[in-house]
């Protein structure tokens, strides 16, 4: 197990490195820059701003300054300046650099404030997704083609088919205006998180329900389940101990990357409910050409996806030891 983990962690680091490098050059290659605005800066001013963020350097040098704690800044004189410190501390030193859009903030500050918010919201959304999705999927599978099954499938489809911003609109009309249970928007307090967590988690709940239903039906038809039943084990035990773990596999492989998405937030939900999470940074970082912010969230997301997929693979082995055995046999 341990060598496996170490190997995978090394892979994770390699993945992050590749993504960071690709993303960096990709960002510098796109049209439009962070300082383009409807109110153009005077040429001399823009030159200064570009110099401050090293945009006047060749891209490889910008990359080096961004990644490594190298301080390639040629001690450019600044207003009230003196010590010649680079505004880029280097990703390797844990400094994600200054934001290009929010000029008085660093990416570390931006992510440091928004990540806890996104994690809190995301974890609640995961609770919604699993708390609703799993039981719904299992019951639907057990009562296949019954009225309950049909109703659950209809509900799940509606949950996926209706865009979450439409659902959010309805929920706000219903639970804020018609029946004032929850605050309309904003972050702070558990009550404020109920609607956004629900809206964020609902589509995932529908996915989980559908995937677990399908997998469960398939597993229930397996011979070893029949054997277990024939042995006279109670139905509860058969379902929970024997069938469920196996049926969870597709849910888990879906949930790995999906959880990364949920935990890093969603632009739509954050905008609609005024939640200051990281989800908006993914899109706004790109739209504002806020290179460092976009890189910051990319690194964050890559790390999260890689780690969650690692967790998925560990879970596979844990649920079905044959998979782990097969993995080592193949290597």
């Amino acid at each position: 197990m341990l060598p496996f983990l170490v190997r995978r962690l090394a892979w994770t680091v390699a993945t992050i490195f590749v993504v960071v490098t690709c993303a960096f050059f990709l960002m510098r290659a796109v049209r439009g820059g962070p300082f383009d605005s409807e109110r153009a800066l005077p040429a001399a001013v823009e030159e200064q701003v570009r110099a401050r963020y090293h945009l006047d350097w060749p891209v490889w040098k910008q990359y080096a300054a961004y990644v490594g704690p190298l301080n390639l800044d040629e001690h450019r004189a600044r207003f009230l300046g003196g010590d010649g410190a680079d505004v880029f501390g280097g990703v390797l030193a844990g400094d994600l650099g200054p934001s290009f859009k929010y000029r008085d903030l660093t990416v570390n500050e931006l992510l440091g404030q928004s990540l806890p918010v996104s994690l809190a919201l995301g974890l609640w959304a995961l609770v919604v997704a699993l708390g609703i999705g799993l039981p719904a999927g299992i019951f639907a599978a057990l009562k296949k083609d019954s009225a309950l099954d049909v109703a659950l499938r209809l509900g799940a489809t509606a949950g996926i088919a209706l865009p979450n911003f439409v659902i959010a609109g309805f929920l706000v009309l219903l639970f804020v205006f018609a029946w004032p249970l929850f605050p309309v928007a904003g972050y702070g307090g558990a009550r404020a998180l109920v609607l956004p967590a629900f809206v964020l988690g609902l589509p995932f709940a529908a996915y989980v329900a559908r995937l677990s239903r399908t997998a469960m039906i398939e597993v229930l038809a397996q011979d070893w389940i029949r054997t277990a039943r024939a042995k006279g084990l109670p139905e509860r035990t058969v379902i929970l101990r024997h069938a469920l773990p196996s049926a969870l596999l597709p849910v888990i492989s879906f949930l790995g990357p999906a959880a990364a998405g949920i935990l890093t937030g969603s632009l739509v939900v954050e905008r609609l409910f005024a939640i200051p999470g990281t989800g908006s940074h993914f899109v706004n970082g790109a739209l504002n050409r806020d290179y460092t912010l976009a890189m910051g969230v990319t690194i964050l997301y890559t790390a999260l996806v890689s780690l969650l997929n690692l967790a998925v693979d560990v879970a596979y082995g844990w649920i079905d030891p044959r998979l782990a055995a097969g993995r080592s046999a193949n290597q």
């Binding site: 383009d36 153009a40 207003f79 000029r103 309309v184």
Partner: protein, 608 residues
């Protein structure tokens, strides 16, 4: 398949763990005290550095924190004393003297002196600050040279003492000009020219070296001279302001704490406002504008900003001024504002909106009806050699960014050009930065644009079409136009207005642009909020705000009803006005026994 023990139990446990972990994020959000007032801002300000911030979002916030030598009257925008108690100019207008308030202080108690103003202006002009509004000071002697003549390392060639700004003593600031700048007081009221705390910046620089600007705007480091101080900053969520007890007019400030919410979605802004979660929003879903006119809390006023199209005058067939004039004429502006934008926007044939102070804009010559204009446009096109029987005008590409109602406007205008002139228009919706890049590189034919003024003087708008302006972006260069503006800069009074009118006439005649309509303010404001006025800059200074008592609210409603009746307008429905029925007045306004008979003169000088 072997059974794994306790799967259900472990699932349950992990769910519990998730829930517990999730609740972590909820601590730390407890508020210290409820704010007296909450307003909605459209996002996080890009900077709290007054010399970096540009735009509506930044302006709203910076007016809490900083005060310039003068401030603008909230209603008329005329200059009122701010940091400077009084000021005088020499007879030739080339020397201004500002007398600062004795005993003025920063929010940390340090005295505010004329040296802080000098430092601020030095930083503004220093090219290494890269301040977008540095040009505001270019009329000052030596300022332009200081800001633009640099050595190879990007340092100014000249020492700052070549610039005509001097602190004669702690309370006297002298400014010398290269030429007369008639609208200097308008510029000085801008937050970019507010003083900066020299002592604090020096301290930060000692502590943080070259990264001091990244540490400056944290609440604990921000020392300000405005009516409020920043007590908490939750990025993209909320800026909490509390009253600055050391502000010189602190006893005129009514609100003790104000929160500014960063909300990005117009529906959410409206919902927050309607549920009483915010007392002012400057935006809402555009679809609803017509519904809002019946409400007393929506009184849009004209704004000093123009929606217009740029022509790329270097690209045939738009290099022919007759073609451009024809297209500019053939826009049904009245239909546009009545049926597309629908928030009270003003159909406009000039570049400077009609609400500019002390200036009557020149208009593009046009007839009373769109049909006549279209006929004249056809004649112009025929004159240029295009039209029925002549060669057809090649298709034109109209670029716009997708946001807002740009697409609707473009569709309607393209429809008009096709129907009336037979010109095919290809609509290109572009991502914002790509759109801007294309506009800058003159990689477009027709491009949606807008310009909102920073200060009330029309020269600020006309200036963008100077040949050297980075905001020109049309390829149009006219030496005569630049010369007229140069002359206007040095003139004053009616002569200046005439010169500006002549310049605008030249601009519209050459038609590198199509003026479409003038913007309006889009404020939904709790009727109980006093000291808030619609004005052409849509600038609202929190210093003047207070809650009206029920009695004052009723009185104002009566006045409004009477005024509307007198003008033959329909009465508007009253809406909920949440807040203290006794009102919340500043100490200066509170008089024993009566909360209605507040001294208007103190509270809102505009009403005088």
């Amino acid at each position: 398949m072997p059974a794994r023990p306790g799967t259900a139990a472990i699932l349950g446990l992990s769910a519990l763990g998730l829930a517990l972990a999730a609740s972590f994020g909820l601590s730390g959000s407890a508020r210290r005290r409820a704010p007296d007032f909450v307003l909605v801002n459209e996002g996080e300000p890009s900077s709290l550095d007054p010399q970096q911030g540009t735009g509506v979002v930044e302006g709203r916030v910076l007016r809490f924190l900083y005060e310039g030598l003068v401030v603008r009257d909230p209603k008329t925008l005329a200059p009122l004393p701010g940091v400077a108690e009084r000021w005088e100019t020499s007879a030739d207008g080339l020397r201004w003297t500002f007398h600062l308030r004795a005993g003025a202080a920063w929010s940390d108690g340090e005295p505010l002196t004329a040296r802080d103003v000098v430092l601020s202006w030095k930083r503004l002009l220093d090219p290494r600050t890269a301040a977008p509004y540095a040009a505001f000071l270019y009329g000052v002697r030596g300022a332009r040279a200081f800001a633009t003549e640099l050595d190879s390392a990007g340092k100014p060639l000249h020492a700052f003492d070549t610039v005509g700004v001097r602190a004669r003593d702690d309370v006297t600031l002298e400014v010398e000009f290269e030429h007369k700048v008639a609208h200097f007081l308008d510029l000085v009221a801008h937050y970019a020219l507010a003083p900066l705390p020299e002592h604090q910046l020096a301290k930060l620089q000692r502590e943080h070296g070259d990264r001091w600007e990244l540490a400056w705007c944290r609440p604990e480091n921000l020392v300000v001279n405005g009516p409020f101080v920043l007590s908490e900053r939750r990025i993209r969520d909320r800026l909490s302001f509390t009253k600055n007890a050391r502000y010189w007019a602190a006893d005129e400030v009514a609100f003790r704490a104000v929160d500014v919410l960063g909300v990005e979605h117009p529906n959410t802004m409206l919902n927050l406002y309607l549920t009483g979660g915010a007392g002012w929003t400057g935006n809402f879903p555009l679809l609803l504008a017509p519904e809002l006119f019946a409400r007393e809390d929506f009184s849009p006023g004209p704004q000093l900003g123009t929606a217009f199209y740029r022509f790329n005058v270097t690209r045939p067939p738009l290099d022919d001024a007759r073609v451009r004039r024809a297209l500019a004429l053939c826009v049904d502006r009245r239909a546009l504002v009545e049926r597309v934008t629908r928030a009270g926007e003003v159909a406009q044939w000039s570049f400077v909106p009609a609400c500019a102070l002390a200036y009557e804009p020149t208009e593009l010559a046009h007839a009373a009806s769109f049909a006549e204009d279209a006929a004249r446009a056809r004649a112009l096109l025929a004159d240029a050699g295009y039209g029925p029987g002549l060669k057809p005008l090649p298709p034109i590409e109209l670029a716009f960014n997708v946001q807002s109602n740009n697409q609707s406007v473009a569709e309607v205008i393209a429809d008009g050009w096709r129907r009336e002139l037979g010109v095919e228009t290809h609509l290109a919706s572009l991502e914002w930065k790509i759109f801007l890049d294309a506009q800058r590189a003159l990689d477009y034919a027709v491009s949606k644009s807008s310009w909102v003024a920073d200060h009330p003087d029309p020269i600020g708008m006309l200036e963008i079409f100077r040949a050297a302006s980075p905001n020109n972006r049309t390829g149009w260069k006219d030496a005569e136009y630049d010369a007229l503006l140069d002359q206007a800069e040095r003139a004053s009074g009616p002569e200046r207005a005439e010169l500006l009118r002549a310049a605008e006439a030249r601009l519209l005649d050459a038609a590198p642009i199509v003026p479409l309509y003038g913007y309006v303010t889009k404020n939904l404001v709790n009727p109980r909020l006093g000291g808030f006025f619609e004005n052409p800059l849509d600038e609202h200074a929190p210093r003047f705000w207070y809650w009206k008592s029920d009695a004052e609210l009723a009185r104002d409603r009566e006045r409004d009803a009477a005024a509307r009746a007198a003008r033959g307008l329909a009465q508007r429905e009253h809406v909920a006005a949440p807040g203290d029925p006794l009102g919340l007045y500043s100490e200066a306004d509170r008089e024993p026994g009566s909360r209605i008979e507040r001294p208007d003169a103190v509270r809102a000088p505009g009403e005088r």
